[in-house]
Symmetry: C2
Subunit: 179 residues, 2 copies
DNA sequence: TTACTCATGTAAAGAGTTACATGATTGC
DNA sequence: GCAATCATGTAACTCTTTACATGAGTAA
């Protein structure tokens, strides 16, 4: 499926950037739903260059040695074809914690509670982090325009917040049942 | 991390079963949060046998040639140590659709709407499927006892339902914003 | 000068999917 | 007889992570 390819092309379709910049993008906004290590990004950029999807040039403005990539017309066409394509839902993503919960009946009640409390706390921290991101991006004041690149960012951030709220809600219900 | 190992040990800790039975378990209840193809299960069972975690015997009661596995004491100890261990939250799982939404501003509005409608429908179908599972397992009538293996099944099914409801909710909010 | 960040790469191993391959049993 | 299901396995490939490796600039 080469999804990383499209994640990279999508970023380059918004702005020219280096492999390092992409690692950072995958560590910030996009992080909630996609990520990749630099050891995966650099080889993929090389491959995309060979395929004529992107082009690199040395960044002369920087005093560090960095390669800035930009998307080609071919790359843009390929990306846009992918972007508008309606795909089947993939299998639900794997979740180690919920796998653990599936086997919970074998644990003493206080251990179950401890694990569930810890899980809840972790999601609360994540939620707070997302809320502060939302604040920092000004999404609390105004929603981005529909043709602004930040619009997708907004929807995805909203989704991440809803997911964390749901997880906390579930933890609470489970803790209720453990009383 | 060898999570598949623990998924298998967990299943064998509940009941003796064959590799084929495990594929089926991964396709039913557990499917919402873990799954594996037979091509991954059989080699793992072989490895676990070599490690002394499980033991196989020919099923004489069946007129088909099947190997039934059971967990050893060593396997059970290893599984229980894993089960009670509090691990850090992993990175959020990748989600192709939300990656797509991140780049939505580049698509015409009717395409965005079409993709979002289709996504919503897919989650509605999944939710209905989960609700009928819940009904079939009798979880609407009574909640399993805390020491029953079905207890974990119940919590995990509840979580899957909440996830699908959240996704539908998010789709609705996005569609609202696209008006 | 030392630690940190920026910046780019490769190698090896592990996890997971798809395809290849076989054979017996059951129900129509 | 034929299709579907039961049942087990291997091979090749893709995707992802961890570890190895290097070097230059920046700030204390």
């Amino acid at each position: 499926m080469r999804t990383l390819k499209y994640a990279i092309l999508g970023l380059l379709n918004q702005n020219d950037m280096s492999g390092y910049d992409m690692s950072e993008a995958f560590g910030e906004t996009l992080n909630e739903f996609w990520h990749a290590k630099h050891s995966q990004i650099y080889p993929e950029l090389k491959k995309l260059t060979d395929e004529g999807m992107v082009m690199a040039e040395e960044d002369e403005t920087s005093n560090r040695s960095r390669k800035v990539y930009h998307i080609t017309n071919k790359g843009r066409e390929d990306f846009m074809a992918w972007l508008g394509k309606d795909e089947d839902l993939p299998e639900t993503p794997k979740d180690i914690f919920r796998l653990r919960v599936f086997f919970f009946s074998r644990l003493p009640m206080d251990t179950r509670r401890k694990l569930m409390d810890s899980q809840k706390l972790a999601h609360e921290l994540r939620l707070r982090h997302l809320e502060s991101n939302k604040q920092a991006k000004g999404f609390n004041q105004n929603i981005p325009a529909k043709d602004d690149d930040a619009w997708g960012d907004y929807l995805v951030l909203m989704s991440a917040i809803m997911r964390e709220e749901m997880m906390i809600d579930w933890c609470n219900r489970c803790l209720e049942l453990m009383k």
